[in-house]
């Protein structure tokens, strides 16, 4: 049975004159958390942005649920069922938490209401600050809101970019716990520099270096491979 949800094949992306992605290939299987690892500037964020169509691919293919999506506009890709949590969280600072959620909701139906209820139980802070402008939330709360916005729709795949970035350790734990709980319900591609978090959540990994996928395997294999961790991730 083909369990593939997303497949990138030799994807190349330019940003202006810069050739950022020079051949990224990986496959995401349903129900798994796939972690993209690599040093700063390796191309991990650009990979997620390319999947979303925010930095369109110039070569290669991106297949989601059997359909090539690399030429689709961003909103169509999102509607096909991919939720995106950007590195900077993308919160609408002048809108309240409630309004941020309203903007995100694509279908106002029973399923969405259920998901909303679930996500507000997962992040009680959002309920507490329901009427507070997004710009006044703490870094961790913004991250929760960004994840909640991506989750509230029936997305089959979530792309989450560095959720632990800039957060206090206690917040990192909270965010990690929430992603662990989401793991049972959706497929996730996670970009994460925090190896502890990545190795706890992830099922499999791909390493991106200089805009190319250079290695992959299960997270268990990576944990045991000291040489690879040192070479590509700078972990001694």
């Amino acid at each position: 049975m083909n369990n593939s949800l997303l497949k990138l094949n030799q994807v190349e992306t330019y940003i202006g004159q810069y050739h950022i992605l020079q051949g990224v290939s990986f496959e995401v299987r349903k129900g798994e958390v796939t972690v993209l690892l690599g040093r700063n500037g390796a191309g991990k964020t650009t990979t997620l942005r390319t999947i979303m169509g925010l930095n369109p691919a110039s070569k290669g293919s991106i297949v989601f649920k059997g359909e090539e999506i690399q030429t689709f506009p961003t909103y169509t890709i999102a509607k096909r069922g991919i939720g995106y949590v950007p590195e900077d969280q993308g919160i609408f600072a002048g809108l309240t938490v409630e309004e941020n959620m309203k903007v995100a909701i694509q279908k106002d139906n029973e399923e969405t209401a259920k998901r909303m209820e679930w996500v507000l139980e997962l992040f009680p802070d959002l309920k507490k600050f329901w009427k507070k402008p997004g710009g006044l939330l703490s870094g961790g709360q913004k991250q929760m809101l960004s994840i909640a916005r991506a989750y509230v729709n029936e997305n089959e795949l979530l792309l989450i970019d560095e959720p632990s970035k800039g957060l206090a350790p206690i917040m990192v734990e909270k965010v990690m716990d929430s992603i662990m709980q989401m793991k049972d319900q959706t497929t996730i591609v996670l970009v994460e520099q925090n190896f502890m978090m990545a190795s706890t959540i992830g099922d499999c990994f791909y390493i991106i270096d200089d805009g190319r996928t250079v290695s992959h395997g299960t997270m268990k294999q990576l944990k045991e491979d000291e040489e690879m961790k040192r070479k590509y991730l700078g972990i001694a």
Binding site: A78, G90, V103
Partner: protein
């Protein structure tokens, strides 16, 4: 007291007309990052088409509705065929919208002739109400009420409807709006249409207020509208109404008390605001 009230009323009415033009301009800039120099042309087209429909139907209300519809249509056409190809390129935007402004003005002359046209309010809006010593000119009060209703309506739309929230979100972060599955191009067109409709409404209301309309009126008011947009904070809707009232009132009082300075006062006001708060009275990004 009568003089003060009349100047205030005059200033408020002028402010509301500028607001109707500036509100669309500020939303278009905030959301689409487009400096639309043709916006004044839509204002002038509202004035001419509204007056023409009013003269044919003998109904001022139908004239107003006709002007708004004209604004909507011109807004959609302008966004789709003129603005869309030059998104992201400010130099091209300025050139093409300035060119469009000229075309729109010249087209008015072709259709309605080069001479200015006279306009007067309908009978039920002529004259004034006397309340004690105060004389309230009906048509000015009418303009203020229409301006406030439009402000309240757009505020309601922005705050209480999904499309309004999307417009606000788009002003703050266009990319994220798209990543949430929203077609921002449709939102752009909607905002352009609403902005053009408001400008056309301002135009049709101006005719009976000033008594005459002419093809160059769009550019004259567009300059005031740009000043208002800068003072209010580029992209901020609430800022545009406050700045428009400020510009209207200062223009009205200065024209009476220091007429020599009446033309310079708006520029001075803008300069002072820019020195104290370069981002304008209100920030655009919330």
């Amino acid at each position: 007291m009568d003089l003060f009230m009349n100047l205030a009323l005059n200033g408020l009415a002028t402010g509301m007309l500028i607001f109707l033009l500036a509100a669309g301009l500020t939303l278009i800039f905030g959301l689409m990052d487009v400096l639309n120099f043709a916006h004044g042309g839509l204002f002038a087209w509202g004035a001419y088409s509204g007056l023409w429909i009013y003269s044919k139907t003998d109904s001022f209300l139908i004239g107003i509705i006709g002007a708004i519809v004209t604004g909507f249509i011109l807004g959609i056409v302008t966004e789709k065929w003129i603005i869309k190809p030059v998104y992201g390129n400010h130099v091209q935007q300025i050139l093409i919208t300035l060119g469009l402004m000229m075309v729109l003005s010249e087209m008015l002359k072709v259709i309605w002739g080069p001479n200015q046209l006279t306009a007067s309010p309908p009978d039920y809006l002529k004259g004034s109400w006397e309340i004690g010593e105060i004389n309230l000119i009906k048509y000015r009060v009418f303009i203020i009420i229409v301006g406030l209703l439009v402000f309240a309506g757009v505020q309601f739309m922005l705050k209480k409807t999904k499309i309004g929230l999307v417009v606000q979100a788009g002003v703050m972060n266009k990319e994220m709006v798209q990543a949430l599955g929203i077609n921002i191009q449709r939102v752009f067109m909607f905002v352009f249409m609403i902005g053009a409709g408001m400008a056309a409404l301002g135009g049709v209301l101006l005719g009976p207020y000033s008594g005459v309309i002419h093809a160059g009126m769009g550019m004259e008011f567009a300059i005031l509208a740009f000043i208002v947009v800068v003072i209010g904070g580029m992209g901020n809707f609430k800022g545009s109404v406050l700045a428009a009232i400020l510009v209207g009132l200062s223009g009205s009082f200065m024209a009476y008390y220091v007429p020599d300075l009446s033309l310079a006062v708006n520029m001075l006001l803008m300069a002072v605001v820019l020195i104290i708060r370069p981002q304008g009275l209100f920030s655009a990004k919330g």
